[in-house]
Symmetry: C2
Subunit: 212 residues, 2 copies
DNA sequence: GTTGCAATCTTATCACTGATAAGATACCAC
DNA sequence: GTGGTATCTTATCAGTGATAAGATTGCAAC
């Protein structure tokens, strides 16, 4: 059916990735084990090595799956037109629904390394809706500088990432106040972006590293 | 000399922590191993278990050491009076000098869990100088609301954390442009804070979750 | 000083994991 | 059908986390 086809098992490669995602639903990334996944699928403990060179290769594939889920949410939020707040909620929502998958994705820098082409591409796709949102807001202010747009989108992304880190750790013991805190944080992010755009609009090009 | 005293080895507990920090200088956190540390210290491979219940306990102690280093830098930057930019530079500087230690610290939520009292306390100490800086700037604007101060300090902290994540991954392939990019990012963080303070000053209390 | 106790360290051992090699099996092209 | 290749299994090794039982050291009470 697809490119890889199916031999004995069906599609063991995908099955392993899916099993890993399921495992991460209630176990930390460090507890992932090729052998456990193999046992849970009823195959021999060495079979996975015909699809993944080593544990890291499997983890990279799982990370790609995670980024794909995140990307889908971000794309959906972008198309839903719920603005910056919707994008923020998509990001934090993904992390809260899949905290261990989110941790796996971010505890290595693999996705931010162009050497991992597939991963890098998917993570860029997840970033795209936010970039588009920032670009649109910049244009609305008469700002065309793509360097500025990229930089500011990155600032929003990193702020959102840090916020999410706090949320999944339940650092603040928010309880009922969760929604209110998130709304407040999203407002802060949006306010920061608008203030930065305003500053750019009023001053010339500040130079510095490019934004992506 | 100290509470724990010295028996056979001297202070194996501290020696193990120090060896782990040294190991992390050029190995990722996942490669940490109690046995390797023991061998590097010339003791039996089971000896560490008399000082740490399990691997996680050792990691928590190493994390505490890492947070202490970070705290020291933040405190020094706070006392040096180089303002918000100095605090940002202290944070990113620590992460760039000890990227694997930084990853270890953040890949678990342990420090953000009050159940790990020691760790929680040290991380709060690391946060304190930033909190003080934000408070001072808020006061200068006539803002006394500690909830607002805490929230905004947290926003700066999370933004800084996300930025640092990008920096240690060398996501942007900055090369020579590193310093310029950092300066730009620090300006952005400072601008966001000032804009948020300005917004608070001009409007009443917006309610929402408290800031810490 | 000697004795007794508790902390520390060692040796031995087990279960589990990552990883490789060699052989068996199933699919596909021809 | 036949051959070749991808897939899977069994067997095996090294490294790690962890525990148990015994040896050693330091300290304190007598």
């Amino acid at each position: 059916m697809s490119g890889k086809g199916k031999y004995h098992h069906g599609d063991l490669r995908q099955a392993l990735i899916a099993a890993a995602v399921e495992f991460l639903a209630d176990h930390p990334p460090a507890d992932l084990s090729i052998r456990k996944l193999a046992r849970s699928l009823g195959i021999s403990e060495a079979a996975p090595y015909h699809h993944f060179a080593d544990r890291q290769a499997l983890e990279l594939a799982v990370m790609a799956e995670g980024y794909a889920l995140l990307r889908d949410r971000c794309l959906a939020a972008g198309q839903a037109g719920r603005g910056l707040e919707g994008l923020c909620a998509a990001y934090t929502g993904f992390a809260l629904d899949h905290p261990n998958l989110f941790r796996l994705i971010h505890q290595s820098s693999a996705a931010r390394n162009p050497a991992n082409a597939v991963l890098y591409a998917i993570s860029a796709e997840a970033f795209a809706p936010l970039l588009a949102e920032v670009r649109q807001r910049a244009r609305a202010q008469g700002i065309d500088d793509e360097g500025q747009v990229g930089f500011l989108a990155l600032m929003v992304w990193t702020q959102l990432h840090g916020l999410t880190d706090v949320l999944i750790a339940d650092f603040l013991r928010l309880g009922d106040g969760h929604a209110a805190f998130c709304a407040r944080a999203y407002r802060h992010i949006e306010g920061s972006l608008m203030a930065a755009l305003d500053a750019v609009r009023r001053s010339p090009a500040p130079a510095g590293g490019d934004g992506r």
